[in-house]
Symmetry: C2
Subunit: 169 residues, 2 copies
DNA sequence: TTAGATGCAAATGGTTTGCATGCGT
DNA sequence: ACGCATGCAAACCATTTGCATCTAA
């Protein structure tokens, strides 16, 4: 379990940092394919072509917040033969195994965050854009509220909605 | 701005507490219809039969979190001739004028909160149920994060996701 | 070879819209 | 009477599903 403390992606206990590819892994265009393959195996997903490339698109560019459609378009641009349905499937599968985190806040479309660790978001009102709230400005709950009987806190989501300042000068 | 510290509903500056009906208002089945009528006028909405009754359903039972469908069903039960489309319209109109607050967190369905003041929610995972986090257990952000240049904080939404405790004993 | 993954298209479910009719002012 | 509000149904959009085909193990 001793993974090198992440460069920018830190995954929670259960999940795996996909960059921990063995030293000799063959990288394709700067992407540790082998690591991805291995990662998928580790989480019990067969490393198929589309999962491999979708994983690459998702995780090779730092933290991102994508919708199914955004990912689909990128995959198409990347010449990957993939269907929208598969993108949805893959996103949910990745989420189930902890590689992604679903953010259910920005309107009708579901956003997926490539950083599955606990952190919060800015939401730009009007545009449907999400920004990570930087860790160093971390939001801390002063007094976690007591959950009702029989329930426990699974997770706390904080969304700071932003609007453009009235007079940008 | 000095409103009596709320019993349970506190409305923010811009909005109006619909219970501030004049003393002599004729109440219909315990509901200050006249107050509702007047409230609707105040916010620039014509007090039509459906808006009146929908408002009554929404606001006469304390704080609630409703979906369009829930409200529609109640309206039907209440023998109000109303269409689902009108329920949607009305919900959005009420939201625009600050009588309601939309909560965009519980899956694909939109929830509307009859308490438009700043407060946060428990979300029961699995069921699509929302609970207010009681004021006295208020969640406070320790260090409100600095928004990026050109933006200001419009609102902070906190959702505490709950799951059933593993062993309820 | 065989279970699992994918592609396509059709189905679904929530929400919105267009237009003719109704109702509040 | 005028104009916004409503009702209905069709349109829309994001997402899911069923099934035949394909592919990784």
């Amino acid at each position: 379990m001793s993974q090198s403390e992440g460069v920018f992606v830190q995954v929670p206990g259960s999940a795996v940092d996909w960059r921990q590819a063995p030293a000799g892994a063959e990288d394709v265009e700067g992407c540790p394919w082998a690591g991805c393959k291995q990662l998928l195996r580790k989480v019990g997903l067969r490393p198929t072509r589309q999962r491999l490339l979708l994983g690459w698109i998702l995780f090779s560019k730092g933290d991102r917040h994508v919708t199914a459609e955004m990912l689909f378009e990128e995959a198409v641009k990347a010449k990957l033969p993939v269907s929208l349905a598969t993108v949805y499937n893959t996103l949910h599968q990745f989420t189930q195994v902890g590689l992604l985190r679903e953010i259910g806040v920005a309107g009708p479309k579901a956003f997926f965050d490539t950083n599955p660790s606990a952190h919060h978001h800015f939401l730009i009102e009007g545009e449907e854009a999400l920004l990570d709230i930087p860790e160093n400005a971390e939001v801390v709950l002063e007094s976690p509220p007591t959950p009702p009987e029989g329930y426990e806190i699974a997770r706390v989501d904080v969304v700071v909605r932003l609007r453009r300042t009235a007079a940008p000068v």
